[in-house]
Amino acid sequence: MSNRINTHRFRALKSGLWSLVLALLVSAGPASAELLIRITEGADAAIPLSVVPFAESGAMPAGDNVSTIIRDDLAMSGEFRPLPPEKMLSLPSKGDEVFFRDWRMLGQRYVLVGQMQREGDRVSARYELFDVNRESRLLGETASAPVSNIRTLAHHISDKVYEAITGVPGAFSTRLAYVTLQNVNGKPLYKLQVSDVDGKRARIRLDSREPILSPAWSPDGKQLAYVSFESSKPAIYLHELSSGKRTRIAEFKGLNSAPAWSPDGRSLLLTLSKDGNAEIYKMDIASRSLKRLTNHWSIDTEATWDHRGRGIFFTSDRSGGPQVYYMESEGAEPRRITFGSRYNARPRPSADGKYVYYVHQREGAFHIARTNLETGEETVLTRTKLDESPSVSPNGRMLIYATQQNGQSVLTVISADGGANYTLPASEGDVRDPAWSPISR
């Protein structure tokens, strides 16, 4: 069975269709529904929007309902406030059934209607998005997917709706990589997992009695690089998700850590201590050749390329404590970026290059903060206290990080300016080290 989703845009009911095809990665490995979702706070300025339950013809898979998933996606973004279906005055499923006056009365800005149809092994959705104030149609498309991938279809529609309204691509079809830690028979068990952004459809990619950390997505979303202690020492592995094929690419004496991909996918930034102490190197993946980028007695680590793929942000304690530095080009003299407190580490740039996000200590607590790279202004984004591992969504609108809640390590998603958030706790044990995937094309 094909694991593709097909989408068609229709201008009117009988207009000619054109299609674009999205290749989807096949999920492999055992299923593991371990993350729960808890929305803790909505954004103040969330846009009121109605996702009307889609009409259905033919047998639909039990459990997952497309319009419910879309509603949850849009609510999770913090930018929308979906109307509960029981408050709707009517349940239109196509454009000519939408009476704008009803939706205006309910204070709605946008209405999404649709119809689901079963076609053999596939399910198709025909959906239309309306702007209530302008009484105009913003979207009219069909999309289809295998019955088993109904969640993929729903996330795809969420992306389209999000982009039609905000002008920014949605990130609901992206995935999260993270590490869970459970105590099994008195011993730790680490699992590297990949799930949808809402925590659903989790698959275990690797489990180990020894630590796994720092997963990093390749720019095409097909591979992960990470650190695993499975050989009793830290080593860096590349892991192809579709096949499960793994390659150990760095196992030098000392540290082998903090992998980060170049935007072209050809090289990795790594932290190695083979030459004495923690330094940043660039490894060409094909040839395995190394180029050393830092040379200092201090700790240099947690490197990441900037949004253009030219400069490099990293953590160094050359000033006495960990701070974020920026190297304009490979090997250039680093410039210090953070000054707001004694501990600022693990930088991650925004997709537009305007901000850098990092872990920031203030009054004994560890938060996520960002600095505006043009003005130097620093903003603390979180109120939680043991925060680490920030990872920015590929559309730059959200950020995921690890923190503690009731003695348990959880993942929290916030909007990139610090607004709305939701948490993804593991059903048991800890979940940490989140990495937000790129948008797969």
Partner: protein
């Protein structure tokens, strides 16, 4: 339980340190002895107490007696295998030095003996920085052992950063016990 364990260990290191220092001057000091033994969760055990190894002192010369006493003291100190650090530092604490000297002398006397130094940090801050910090702590202990007689080939270092806490929890006490280097003799 764990904090009292640590306090005992520190007290032991300190008192044994005094003993070792005094013995080298040839004086006889008894205040250094205590009668405690405590088992740690991590398998390390701290011993104290008068330990003459079953030797009847009446049959030995003063020099022999002193040598046996020193051996016993070194033996007792070597039972301490975990060393603690302050936040974001890799500085060996003064009270750890005599115990590490005992370990170094033992390694020097037993060239085939291998030791693995595992460096750790507390959960605060970032994982990768803590990995580097754990390595820096293990390296500090390695250098100290080498300066005091161990050879580089006997020592292997690895850092686990914040990944393997000795004690769970987010308290000052838990953090203090997790910022450590463990010596694992192999």
């Amino acid at each position: 339980m764990n904090i009292s364990m640590k306090q005992k260990a520190v007290a032991m290191v300190f008192s044994l340190g005094l003993m070792a220092g005094c013995s080298s001057t040839g004086e006889t000091v008894d205040e250094g002895y205590t009668d405690t033994a405590a088992s740690g969760q991590d398998g390390s055990t701290v011993y104290g107490g008068t330990d003459d190894g079953g030797i009847s002192s009446g049959q030995l010369s003063a020099e022999e007696r002193q040598a046996a006493q020193e051996r016993a003291e070194m033996e007792a100190m070597r039972q301490i295998t975990t060393f603690y650090f302050d936040f974001d530092t890799s500085e060996i604490k003064p009270e750890a030095r005599d115990v590490l000297v005992a370990h170094a002398k033992f390694l020097a006397a037993n060239p085939s003996q291998q030791v693995r130094l595992e460096g750790h940090g507390d959960e605060r801050g970032t994982k990768e920085y803590n990995l580097a910090l754990g390595e820096r702590r293990a390296n500090a202990v390695e250098r100290f052992l080498i300066v005091n007689g161990a050879s580089r080939g006997q020592i292997e270092t690895v850092s686990y950063g914040e990944e393997k806490p000795a004690v769970m929890g987010s308290t000052d006490s838990a953090w203090a016990q997790n910022r450590r280097v463990e010596l694992i003799f192999q």
